[in-house]
């Protein structure tokens, strides 16, 4: 396996890690609006309180790693999707502000305004991330210099919007399942009822997205012919873990249900990766504009140096991150320090 492939996988791990982790706290955002009363809303905020910040670092680090390993891709995607990314940045800033400032004042109006901002910005972030992934999976109109030659409307085609909606549904379900782990009593019962909506919605969109990909995605035929078995295996796993969420919930095994939801995200990332490799962004305009893990990459020297940087750093990160998650395990108890 060459360094470019290793970095392709590492980038997928970072963005996949981001989706698994920030996925549940982005999903918890809109759900907050459906709870009644300040106490329940605070429980949701504090369920993600100690971890959302660290979760978002996966996105920032993913961005940095993409810059270091595939600078051309970083430049093309972020300048091409300028408006969408600016909106995403605004949403992420609002989200952070909402979490921080909501608890600063006790007035009901103040709090519900921030609740709205929190829910709205979480929803918008999830949607924009989904639309961006949908566009990259579909391919972008890139010229020979790898520059984006489309408009904002190019990005809003049906397939990308479908992936956007699927991402929203996925994160809502993921957030819902996470909150089951962090609550008990009547609140957990309410959240359990909600899974009857969030899980099936995701299942429907999961099927729709996969069907649309197989039927319409311009890159899928080449990917299937190149690595049918790998794609098939990930696809089968994906269906299995996704359906297993329903089964685990019936048996009231919330932890396993959440785990399966996380695995569902991982397998989707896997399908995406296996579907596009060795391309990172394929061009719908001119095949010469396609950015691959070779023409989009930094030099071998850089990739090698950063490989060792990651090999030393990432295990340490995983170690203490796990320890910190472990410290905050169990149900939410509101204290003086809580939001």
């Amino acid at each position: 396996m060459d360094l470019n492939t290793i970095w392709f996988l590492l980038i997928c791990v970072l963005f996949g890690g981001y989706a698994v982790l920030d996925g549940f706290d982005l999903g918890a955002g809109p759900l907050l609006l459906f709870t009644k009363g300040d106490h329940d809303r605070r429980v949701i905020l504090n369920a993600i309180g100690p971890v959302w910040n660290g979760n978002e670092v996966w996105l920032v680090t993913g961005g940095g790693a993409l810059f270091a390993a595939f600078p051309n891709v970083y430049a093309t995607v972020f300048s091409g999707l300028y408006d969408a990314f600016m909106l995403l940045l605004a949403a992420l800033i609002f989200r952070a502000a909402a979490i921080e400032f909501r608890s600063q004042r006790p007035e009901a109006g103040w709090r519900s305004a921030w609740d709205g901002a929190f829910a709205g910005s979480s929803l918008l972030s999830a949607l924009l991330i989904g639309v961006a992934i949908g566009n990259i999976a579909w391919g972008l109109p890139l010229d020979r210099g790898h520059e984006f030659r489309g408009t904002l409307l190019t990005l809003l085609h049906p397939y990308a919007l479908l992936v956007g909606c699927t991402t929203v549904a996925l994160f809502l379900m993921h957030g819902n399942l996470y909150l089951l782990l962090k609550t008990d009593g009547p609140m957990q019962a309410t959240l359990m009822r909600w899974t009857r909506i969030t899980v099936p919605s995701y299942l429907v969109l999961f099927v729709a997205t996969n069907a649309a990909t197989i039927l319409f995605n311009p890159n899928i035929a080449a990917a299937i012919s190149r690595r049918l078995w790998l794609l098939g295996a990930i696809f089968a796993t994906s269906i299995a873990v996704t359906l297993n969420i329903v089964r685990e919930l019936r048996r009231r095994r919330e932890r396993r249900a959440f785990l399966c939801s996380a695995l569902s995200i991982v397998t989707l990332m896997g399908l995406f990766a296996a579907g596009v490799y060795p391309n990172l962004v394929s061009s719908t305009l001119d095949p010469a504009g396609t950015l691959t893990i070779y023409n989009g990459a930094a030099t071998q020297k850089s990739l090698q140096f950063m490989f060792w940087v990651a090999m030393i750093g990432v295990p340490i990160v995983l170690l203490y991150s796990t320890a910190i998650y472990y410290t905050f395990r169990g149900k939410v108890i509101l204290t003086d320090e809580s939001y």
């Binding site: 595939f70 430049a75 300048s79 800033i93 502000a97 400032f101 940087v309």
Partner: protein
Amino acid sequence: MTIDTLSRMQFGMTASFHFLFPPMTIGLGVMLVIMQTLRITTGNPLYLSMARFWTKVFGLIFAIGVATGIPLEFQFGTNWARYARFVGDIFGSPLAIEGIYAFFLESGFLALLLFGWNKVGPRMHLFATCMVALGAHFSAIWILVANSWMQTPSGYHLAQQVKETASGERFPLSADLGEVAWTLREVPLPADTVVRPEDLAHVRAVIDSFSEAILNPSTLQRLAHTVFACWMTGAFLVIGISAWWLLRGRETAQAKASMKIGLTVAMIACLLQMIAGDATARGVAIHQPTKFAAIEGLMRSGPDASLGLFGAVTWKRDADGTIVGVNDRSVRVPGLLSVLVSGDFLHPERARATVVKGLEELPTDELLRRRHPTLSDAEIASIRPSYWPSVPVVFQTYHLMIAIGVALTGLVCVSVVACSRGWLWNTAVRPVQWLLWLLVITPILSQIATQCGWFTAEFGRQPWIVYEVLRTEHAVSAVVRPSQVMSSIAMFFVIYALLTVLFVQSLRRMVRGGPSASGHGAAVSAATDDAPILSRRTGGKAGG
């Protein structure tokens, strides 16, 4: 407005707004480590409530810092895509390292710092505090490495990407070879290659040595200079709030103890800053002479160069309004600049003979000829000003930074003496009140100084984005339109204005409430308000 002006405005606005917050968290992180250590070693509950209060403040500042920091990670791609392609092989690495080694550490252990008071023991909590502070410093290291490489690029060469066929023939990247198989090759270019905008499609900077790129000529002094500025900013935040409490006669026990810790850190940081600031300026004189001449407003080369103190330097224009030089209306000390540049303080006569180059011959003829091979000598001289940064701006920002730095250092010296003699607590006395009011505004002064410092560094680097390699206007994204950037500037402006209001309100509420606002702190300060609160050990430390 052109796309590069707009993109510079946006980057400048988002970066300088962001840079209000990390210096406070870096400095406050150090303070928290000291407070938590004192809490464990003395067992005095005062330090617990103190640490709890300042941790809340830290959490607020950190949150805004994170929120405003995210755009910076992505703006190199959104607004400066050609820059990102050109330097990605070198510049992306420190950003990625910052993510892996700094941001994860900071934000992971921040959870324990903010929410772990009852989940982990005091020692573990201190450990978490140390990790947060360490992460904040790591973050400073890597972002300074990245920025210093833009100032003094090294450890790289320029390379041209070509298509190479199986037979070894090389074609330009743009060539259409049809069915012929080819591989991508990078051909090294000579060191003096001029990077033109049209070359950016196939020329980029390629790493030679990571150690040279990371430890480029300006990294260490600029890192030290920035970190000490951060310590000062954090310390002055604590000092300012404590002074306000003292003047209001509230939280007196907390205020005194916080003031001592704050003054200790500020004193150390101010002294170290004198050394680091001097080293940074000398580094600029050696490695970025054009920038150095600009920040001093120095037109003529020669020995016995004078140091500007204050005043104004304006553009001198000819009849058409073209810039031809500068009008110097500043108060200057003859010869001092030469002495400072030489660093030879023991032999003033020899030091005064040190030649400092002025803008009249900077950038060098050699560089200008290389970039404009067809121009005559007269034309080279007339094009020179287009290679100068905005002298009137950087002269002011640089000298304002120094003036504030010197004033703050003097103020800290006076306050340390007043504190060690116990005068500072005597708030009924007028001069003490004046001193305390001065201390109340130090958080704002130190923010102005750090902002001025960065403006000097970044405006002073212009017109280059990579110093003397790539011009800023050539580095903007090819596909982003001015209207898009205008919208995003408006968006950021509204959001940041809102954040400013919210932040100031929240901080004010926290300070008004004070440590005793939380149930925990109330019991402690009620119990200790009238007692001699500080152990002799900490009192001595602050005094010395």
